[in-house]
Symmetry: C2
Subunit: 343 residues, 2 copies
C-alpha cells in the first residue's frame, strides 16, 4: 500500500488526457471515442489497474460490503451461516466483513461501531449469550443501517429476523422421545434471555402437555453456557441427586454430547437406559458412538435467507421505498440416530 498505487490520473498523464475521460472510457461511456477507449483499456490492462474501492465507496456512500457479527467461528452452525451469507453476497457483488464477538458484549459493541465506521451497507448479527444491552444495535439502526438478526434474536428490536423454528423443533424432539417410550424427559435448557432458549423450552413443554405428561420443574435444568463441561457436570449432578429420568433433550448438541459422555461414564447405556437428543446437528454428531439424534438447523439456509433479506432491505432503501422488517422462519428437521432409537 505504501507505494503509490497506479491510478486513473496516472493513465491520464501517460495518455495526455484528463482523468474524467479515463473514467468514462473505462466504463464505455458513449461520449468517448473508440480510439480513446481502446488506448485507455489497453494501458489499464498493461498496468493491471485496479480501481480503489475506498474512493468509490466514499463517493457513492456505498461500500458493497455486508458486515456479519457472530459469537464464535469455530462452530459448525455459525461457520455454515457465514458460508451461506458469502454465497449470496458474492453473487450480488458484495463482500463480507466478519467480526467475532467471542460471546462478549463489549466486543460486540466494538465490532458494531467498527462496522459502522467502515460503512457496511448492512449488518447481520447473532447476539452473544450473555447480555440484554441493545443500545449499540438501536444506535446503528437509527443511523439508517439495515440490520438483520439471525438465530439469537431480540424481540425488542423492530428489524428483520431469521430464526429456526425452535418451538417446532423442540416439540419434534420431545415427541420423538415420548414415542420411543420415554416418560421422564430431562430438558437441559439454554439461556433464558434469548428467545431461542425460551422457544425450545416451550416446545418441550407443549409436547409433554399434548401427550399428557406432567411437567416437573426439577427436570428442566438450565445450561446457559452450553459447553461440553457444563453438559457433563450437569449430568453428574443429576445422577448424584438420583433424579429419575430416561431421556435427555438438550438445548444444543455440545451439551447433549457432554451429558451423553457423563452418562456413559456413570455406566448408563445409551439409548437403552437413557435416550439423548440434541439440537443443531453438528457436523460430527453423526460420527459419535452412538450417533447423536438431533434437530437439524441448516446454517447455510439461515445464512442465505438472512443475506437475501438484508439485500432486499438495502435495495428498497436505495430506491427510497418503504421496507417493513419481517421475520422468516427456517424449518428444522428431526434427525433420528442411534442415541434415541430403542431397539
Amino acid at each position: 500500500m505504501r507505494k503509490g498505487q497506479y491510478t486513473m490520473q496516472d493513465i491520464a498523464n501517460e495518455l495526455g488526457i484528463s482523468k474524467s475521460t479515463v473514467s468514462r472510457a473505462l466504463k464505455n461511456h458513449p461520449d468517448i471515442s473508440q480510439d480513446t477507449k481502446d488506448a485507455v483499456h489497453k494501458l489499464a490492462k498493461e498496468k493491471d489497474y485496479q480501481p480503489n474501492s475506498l474512493a468509490l465507496s466514499l463517493r457513492h456512500n456505498k461500500s458493497f460490503v455486508l458486515g456479519i457479527i457472530v459469537p464464535e467461528i469455530v462452530h459448525d452452525f455459525f461457520a455454515n451461516v457465514i458460508s451461506g451469507v458469502q454465497k449470496v453476497a458474492y453473487n450480488e457483488g458484495y463482500n463480507v466483513m466478519i467480526c467475532i464477538s467471542n460471546e462478549s458484549t463489549e466486543q460486540e459493541i466494538v465490532d458494531t461501531k467498527a462496522m459502522f465506521s467502515s460503512r457496511v451497507d448492512g449488518l447481520l448479527i447473532s447476539r452473544t449469550k450473555e447480555s440484554n444491552d441493545l443500545s449499540h444495535l438501536k444506535s446503528i439502526v437509527n443511523k439508517g443501517v439495515p440490520l438483520v438478526m439471525f438465530d439469537r434474536v431480540s424481540e425488542e428490536l423492530n428489524v428483520s429476523k431469521v430464526i429456526t423454528d425452535d418451538f417446532q423443533g423442540a416439540y419434534m424432539a420431545t415427541e420423538h422421545l415420548i414415542k420411543q417410550g420415554c416418560k421422564n424427559i430431562i430438558h437441559l435448557s439454554g439461556p433464558d434471555n434469548l428467545a431461542i432458549g425460551r422457544n425450545r423450552k416451550n416446545g418441550y413443554l407443549a409436547a409433554l402437555k399434548d401427550y399428557n405428561i406432567a411437567v416437573d420443574e426439577n427436570m428442566i435444568i438450565p445450561c446457559p453456557k452450553g459447553d461440553l463441561d457444563e453438559g457433563k457436570s450437569t449430568m453428574y449432578d443429576i445422577i448424584d441427586q438420583k433424579i429419575e429420568f430416561d431421556a435427555v433433550f438438550a438445548n444444543n448438541d455440545v451439551t447433549a454430547i457432554g451429558a451423553m459422555n457423563a452418562a456413559k461414564e456413570k455406566g448408563l447405556s445409551i439409548p437403552n437406559d437413557v435416550s439423548v437428543i440434541g439440537f443443531g446437528d453438528w457436523r460430527l454428531s453423526q460420527l459419535l458412538d452412538p450417533p447423536l439424534s438431533s434437530i437439524e438447523q441448516s446454517g447455510v439456509d439461515i445464512g442465505v435467507t438472512a443475506a437475501k433479506l438484508l439485500l432486499e432491505q438495502i435495495r428498497a432503501e436505495e430506491k427510497d421505498e418503504d421496507f417493513t422488517p419481517r421475520t422468516e422462519v427456517v424449518e428444522s428437521h428431526l434427525i433420528k440416530r442411534g442415541s434415541s432409537i430403542h431397539n
Copy 2:
C-alpha cells in the same frame, strides 16, 4: 447508509466553526482552546458521531484491514486460524476481512482482486488444493501488498510463510504406529501439488526408513480430495484388493475417519486389527469411537503467528525499513488416543 451521515462538517456548522477545527478538537490537538474542544466533544457524543473510516483510509492510504482468504470455513482448522488472526488483529486495531475461496482457483483470483481493491493493508492466504497458478498472488505482491501464506503454501513465492512441521508430525505419527507393533502401514496421502502433502509423505517415508521397514509404493494411496467419502471408498478398495495392512496414517482427520468407518463396516476392529491415526486434530475427533489419534496442528497458533508476521512486515514497510520474508514453523504434537493404542 443512504441517509446523510453525521459528519465533521455538520458539527462545524452547528458550532459555527470550521471542520478543520473540529478535526483537531476531536484529537485534542494543543492548538485548540479548551472551550472549543469541550463543545466539540459534547456535540460529537450527543450526536453519536462516528468517523468515516473510508475517508480516513483514502486519505492515509491505509485501511487498518487485514484480508484473509481460506479455502473453507466449515472446517475446524481454518476456523481456528481465523480466530487466531482476529485476536491479534483486534489487539492491534485492525479489522479482518474474510473471503472463502471454496477450493476454487477462480474464486481465489476474484477474492484477491477484491482484497486489493478494498486496499487491505496485508493479506493472509491458504491456497486452494487444485491449482498451481500463482499469477494473481505475484501481482498483488508486486503492487506492494504484504502477503503471508499459511498451511498450504507455495515455495515459488518469496513471501513469509507459516506452516506446521508436517514432516516431523508425519514422522511422529508413523513412528508411533511402528512402536505399537504395526508393520504394514498404509499412507493415505494428500495432493501432490501442495508442499504440505509432500512433506507429510516424506515424514512417513523417513520414519519407515529409520526403522528399517521397506517402502511399498502400493501402500501409498493418494486421497487428493481429502473428504469423508474418499476416505471410505479408498478403504473399501484396499480391503477388496486384499492388500495386507495393519495401520493407516491419513493425510488428514476426515480421511482417517472415512477410512475408520469403512474398516469398521467391513468388520475390522480398531485398533486391534487396524490402527488409525489422522493429521490435524479435529475438534470432535476425540469424541469418536474409538477416539481418533492425530497430529495436533494448532490453528490458533498458526493464525496468531501469521498475523504477527504480517503486521511486522506492514510496519517495517511503513517505516521504509527492509523486511526479509521468513518462514515460521509451528510445532505439531502427537495426540495418542484409542484408535492407535494397542492394549
